[in-house]
Symmetry: C2
DNA sequence: CAGCATCCGGTTCGATACTG
DNA sequence: CAGTATCGAACCGGATGCTG
């Protein structure tokens, strides 16, 4: 699962060291991870994987997200270089959000995770119920 | 929990229906997703992928996590059936945490995501700096 | 060692109101 | 349409003290 796209990494800093790295709270990866795995970040990446969307479209698509949170989430992902914001200078305003190339890479991995959970949701919920029953018994 | 490795399991439950599902806030997948992608959930799954660990080991391994949060996270993941808690009835207490089979499946996908971010952390941070510079300019 | 109960500060979040 | 500003409410998360 190595990628050649943007990996300009130092060879001395690979694999074993890198793997243990997120576990150190000083690691900057944690911040990025936060943005990506944040409550709405995951869903925004997932939604944008299906194509370009306008702000209001995203609001409708991602049920339950507030204006403020969507805006905030989009800003974070844009700053991390995962989301591209394109504003068309017309009235009324028309702004489109899409994934950058690195955005598509993370989003693809997020999608794998989300898909797995959705496909296996029933067994998971069953296990949870069983667990709850077992606890109370 | 017998599913094959990848997400494309049951054809009747895949793709269009499943994909749009998390985006609805009524979808139970969101709850599971929260647990898995929570601040410490990600790191716990990642850490346990390397083998069984005791509570105190996890605390040392995952820098910055508090006792309370680790406990809380482990409970959530245990309830979802991703983590197995094994208490040895000795004094002093000896408790071990490991991944269940479904836990290994989610964790594998989490690992993919984490690894990608770590490998690409430098370009990402550069993009972020550039973005910040561009904003202030 | 493992972990729960309690308290409490800080951040997050949502609803509302307002701007270009 | 696409946001920002502001303000309480809710929740998160850390520190402490205590139990088996």
């Amino acid at each position: 699962m190595n990628n050649s796209a943007t990996a300009g990494t130092d060879p001395t800093l690979t694999d074993k060291f890198q793997r243990g790295n997120v576990l150190a709270n000083s690691c900057p990866s944690r911040g990025i991870l936060q943005d990506v795995t944040s409550r709405w970040g995951v869903l925004v990446l997932f939604a944008l994987l299906q194509g370009t969307h306008r702000f209001s479209e995203l609001r409708k698509t991602i049920t339950g997200v507030s204006e403020k949170m969507l805006s905030q989430t989009l800003h974070a992902l844009e700053a991390d270089g995962f989301v591209l914001r394109t504003a068309h200078p017309v009235i009324p305003p028309h702004v489109e959000y899409s994934l950058t190339s690195s955005g598509r890479e993370v989003a693809a991995r997020v999608e794998e995770l989300v898909n797995w959970i959705e496909v296996n949701i029933n067994p998971i919920l069953s296990a949870r119920d069983e667990y709850a029953a077992h606890k109370s018994a």
